[in-house]
Amino acid sequence: MWKFVLPVVVLVTATGARADETAIKLKDGPGRDVVMNNCAACHSLDYIQMNSPFLDQKLWEAEVTKMIKVFGAPVDDSDAKAIVDYLSRSYGRP
């Protein structure tokens, strides 16, 4: 069901969400929208910026897998791949 709820709804309804997080701007690049649509359902996107740039592709993949397997994020396989690609390209270890 969460798939069909846009993150903006979460931002408005979740207690503790603040308008300021809308100022977070992730780097441009393919996959950015997929990241924003999936990841922001549960946490602000500054989590990504904060954890950069020191995770390589394998470690970003481990993070995304943890979000899906442990925290139950409803991310399908093609989105998961796009997310890992974007994160390791834009926020990965140089």
């Binding site: 993150p7 809308t22 100022a23 500054d46 020191f54």
Partner: protein, 408 residues
């Protein structure tokens, strides 16, 4: 979709690669970020105020993670409105103290019951204990190589006088069975998704029965702030803050180990790597074990990093030291990169779980950089490390703190 807006100063962008202390200046209400913190963190960290709080260093908005700027640790007790904020999950309800209920039960309790806040205050003896509340991952951002997580600097901690009742008194009323091995805590905050494991933590029954383990409803003489766990939270003096459940709603006496993600996978350290005394054996595996007591640590709070000092001026360096509750026995200062050490003067001992303040007179005899190192030792002989004990979670960072001033 997150809407786009013009940049705030301090969020992203090329102009923002300057270190925060240069952007903000070095005024008392500013903050500095250690240059060893991840660049990504240094680009986004900024002073922002949550409701009821002074501006703190914002690491993440949701769940909210905000750390206390270092200069607040010049005080023995950290002001409530400057106390750090740390959440794992983003659904954080404001709990009405009038309708709040604490449920006590579990398969190892013979007499389950519920309590209102009034009854909790009325029916049990109040006690007050000064104690350091420190996130297990405080200073995680200083690990090299960096490890994933909330990239805390020095301020994921604070010291407060916690007033409440003994957890033991509640457990005595609940009638623990002989089979009780762990006491688990749940709070009112929860996940954004149903499938995300709720944040539930347990402690060994012997630690729950320790007379210093409390259910607190006040800190520093005031009701708990919302963001520090109102209306009541668990206090486990000496142990890291992961067990100090905020917005406490349920206490469960268990005959089996708690087996959720937050116990079985998170907050674990390798077995045998740290010189710790108190262990959590019902959760220990051959490879790893739950984090328990804090390691001995200290911080230089005055002078500030990169402060300019006049040649010939005598300074009083100041700071704090703390540990897992054995008591600080000495703090030593070195001004020659650790070749020689001199003892600082310890301030009053207000309790073994509290910060212990220290002072050290510092003469400036040479122009240029003057670097201080601080090293604390406790009553069981534990001292601070000069090389980092690596561990996957980035816990227990207690490298000696280092501050350089410019003598000119």
């Amino acid at each position: 979709m997150v809407t786009r807006r013009s940049f705030l100063i301090g969020v992203g962008g090329a102009a923002l690669s300057a270190p925060a202390h240069l952007r903000e200046g070095l005024a008392a209400d500013s903050f500095s970020l250690d240059p060893h913190l991840p660049i990504g963190l240094r680009n986004i960290a900024q002073l922002e105020a949550l409701p009821g709080k002074v501006p703190l260093i914002k690491l993440t908005y949701r769940p909210p993670n905000y750390e206390t700027p270092l200069h607040y640790f010049n005080e023995l007790f950290t002001p409530n409105d400057a106390f750090f904020v740390r959440y794992h999950l983003s659904d954080i309800p404001e709990v009405d103290p009038k309708s709040w209920r604490l449920a006590v039960g579990g398969d190892a309790a013979t007499k389950p019951f519920e309590l209102t806040l009034d009854a909790l205050k009325r029916d049990f003896m109040p006690v007050e204990i000064p104690a350091v509340c420190q996130c297990s991952g405080s200073r995680r951002g200083l690990f090299e190589p960096h490890v994933a997580g909330v990239e805390w600097g020095y301020g994921a901690m604070g010291n407060a006088r916690w007033k409440g009742i003994r957890l033991k008194d509640i457990l005595d009323r609940a009638g623990l069975t002989k089979e009780a091995i762990e006491i688990a805590f749940d709070g009112a905050d929860g996940p954004a998704l149903d499938k995300t494991p709720d944040f539930v933590k347990s402690i060994p029954v012997w630690k729950a029965l320790d007379p210093d383990t409390l259910i607190a409803y006040e800190m520093n003489g005031q009701p708990l702030p919302h963001f520090n766990g109102a209306p009541a939270r668990i206090i486990v003096p000496g142990w890291t803050a992961t067990y100090w459940m905020k917005h406490l709603t349920r206490i469960t006496a268990r005959s089996t180990p708690e087996d959720n993600f937050w116990m079985k996978a998170a907050y674990r350290i390798p077995v045998g790597k740290f010189p710790l005394v108190q262990r959590f054996l019902t959760q220990e595996t051959a490879a790893n074990t739950p984090i328990t007591e804090m390691v001995v640590n200290s911080l230089i709070t005055t002078p500030a990093e990169s402060e300019k000092v006049r040649m010939g001026q005598t300074l009083t360096a100041k700071g704090i030291a703390w540990d897992g509750g054995y008591g600080i026995t000495s703090v030593e200062i070195s001004t020659d990169e650790g070749q020689t050490w001199s003892r600082a003067t310890l301030g009053p001992d207000v309790g073994r779980y509290s910060f212990r303040q220290w002072t050290f007179p510092l003469k400036t005899t040479r122009k240029g950089a003057l670097t201080l190192l601080a090293r604390a030792t406790n009553a069981v002989g534990q001292t601070q490390n000069s090389t980092l004990i690596q561990n996957p979670g980035g816990y227990h960072h207690n490298l000696m703190h280092r501050v350089s001033v410019i003598v000119g």
